[in-house]
């Protein structure tokens, strides 16, 4: 399982890291860790645009694990 950790990063870096990850492998499932709602929304929107299904799991203390699946 790939995990991209974007905690502590602000826009546009989480979305850029998502794009980078899917450029390397466009099909393999991917988890993205975010720690603010703006990044959660941005990554979710970007992933949905690229045809990924996104499930957000609240990991507590403001951190969400976004499970991106084709």
């Amino acid at each position: 399982m790939r995990t991209v950790d974007t905690r502590g990063l602000s826009c546009p870096q989480p979305v850029l890291l998502f794009h980078q990850a899917i450029a390397e492998n466009a099909a393999e499932p991917l988890d993205v860790l975010v720690d603010n709602e703006a990044s959660l929304e941005n990554v979710t929107r970007a992933a949905a645009n690229k045809g990924w299904n996104v499930v957000a799991n609240d990991e507590g203390e403001g951190v969400f694990r976004l499970e991106l699946r084709k």
């Binding site: 502590g8 546009p12 870096q13 979305v15 709602e37 703006a38 929107r45 970007a46």
Partner: protein, 361 residues
């Protein structure tokens, strides 16, 4: 988790339109023409009100600045999004804030005012917006090279709350030492008796309407810099549609209320030096991009507990004061005596910051 309607594309379009309408409303209520809300200009006025610069025509503790931050703070707390954080290259952000303010004051406006100026018919705003887009485009080149100021960390509640507390202190100062009609000073505060600083909406309207903007902008993540950046970087139109809605709404409001005046010459609080209108905003746009938000967005993030954004805003406050003290700020008659130097030096400093913080540099 619950859906945040403001952060949908229709949501951000409505928010942009509401900001445009409120801005024109504030102009009708007394704010300077095409300056219903300008974060750079108003931070400059706040700096003047505190006596950080002594340009007598731009001194007023603008309640709009306080409303924007406090609205965002309340919205963030209500949505459980207030999260104290910071520690991502603070001094770099301070310097970027200074450069951003100085560049914006060569053009005479932040991105919000560039939109409001265009919506009022000021053709010079086209140069400013083109410069803004160019500067942000330079910023996206750095992002493609892996530019990052580093991760922020969770911080204490005090750290996250300090910027809003400073804002509350400004509000208290304003209330304790209110403007005395015709007097340039009230206690320690300075109040313009003529010029743009003397033109302002009633206190309650300024504070209240900006508070509303603070709430909806925090919820929607409205950002004029992000609008161009996401368009260039990802071909995303989400935020750009919000910006476009602000322009359309303000233009329509001006058209309906007789606020349109097309042309380049004699525009309110503006000069028509094409080259420096453009270049001033190139520098400012690059600084906004490297710092991760337009001046308004930085205030909203500061309200959410982001102390790095607070430091950027304080950098803008100091930069705006310096712009007047050092003669780099423009006026209606043209650019300042050292406006060119400030624009070029600021741009070079931004380039250095960009290269040094790019992984693949």
């Amino acid at each position: 988790m619950k859906k945040n309607l403001f952060a949908t594309t229709p949501g951000v379009i409505v928010v942009g339109a509401v900001i445009g309408l409120i801005a024109v409303g504030l102009q009708k209520l007394g704010n300077p023409a095409n300056m219903g809300i300008c974060v750079a200009c108003f931070e400059r006025d706040v700096a003047g009100g505190l006596g950080l610069h002594r340009a007598a025509i731009v001194q007023y503790l603008r309640p709009e600045i306080m409303g924007l931050v406090l609205g965002s703070l309340v919205a963030a707390i209500a949505a459980k999004e207030f999260r104290p954080r910071g520690g991502s290259a603070p001094i770099v952000r301070f310097v970027l804030g200074m450069i951003a303010a100085m560049g914006a004051l060569v053009f005479l406006g932040c991105p919000w005012r560039a939109i409001l100026r265009l919506a009022g018919g000021d053709g010079n705003a086209l140069l400013g917006l083109a410069g803004l887009a160019t500067g942000i485009w330079f910023g996206t080149l750095f992002f493609k090279r892996g530019y990052s100021l580093g991760r922020s960390n969770s911080q204490s509640v005090v750290s996250g709350a300090l910027f809003p507390v400073i804002i509350v202190c400004l509000l208290l100062l304003y209330l304790i030492f209110p403007q005395v009609p015709g007097q340039p000073q009230s206690g320690p505060l300075f109040y313009s008796v003529k010029g743009p600083g003397s033109q302002h909406a009633p206190f309650i309207a300024s504070l209240g309407l900006a508070f509303v903007i603070g709430i909806i902008a925090q919820r929607s993540r409205f950002c004029t810099m992000g609008a161009f950046r996401d368009l260039f970087l990802f071909r995303y139109t989400h935020l750009f549609l919000g910006l476009a809605a602000m322009l359309v709404a303000a233009f329509a409001a001006n058209a309906l209320t007789g606020g349109l005046k097309f042309g380049f010459e004699g525009q309110p609080v503006a000069h028509s030096d094409f080259l420096w209108n453009y270049l001033g905003m190139v520098t400012a746009g690059l600084a906004f991009a490297l710092a991760g938000g337009c001046p308004g967005r930085q205030l909203f993030m500061a309200g959410e507990g982001d102390s790095d954004a607070g430091i950027f805003a304080l950098g803008m406050l100091v930069g705006a004061a310096m712009a007047h003290n050092l003669g780099t700020a423009s006026s209606g008659t043209g650019i300042g005596i050292y406006g060119m130097q400030a624009t070029i030096i600021g741009f070079i400093v931004c380039l250095i910051i960009g290269f040094v913080h790019s992984r693949r540099a």
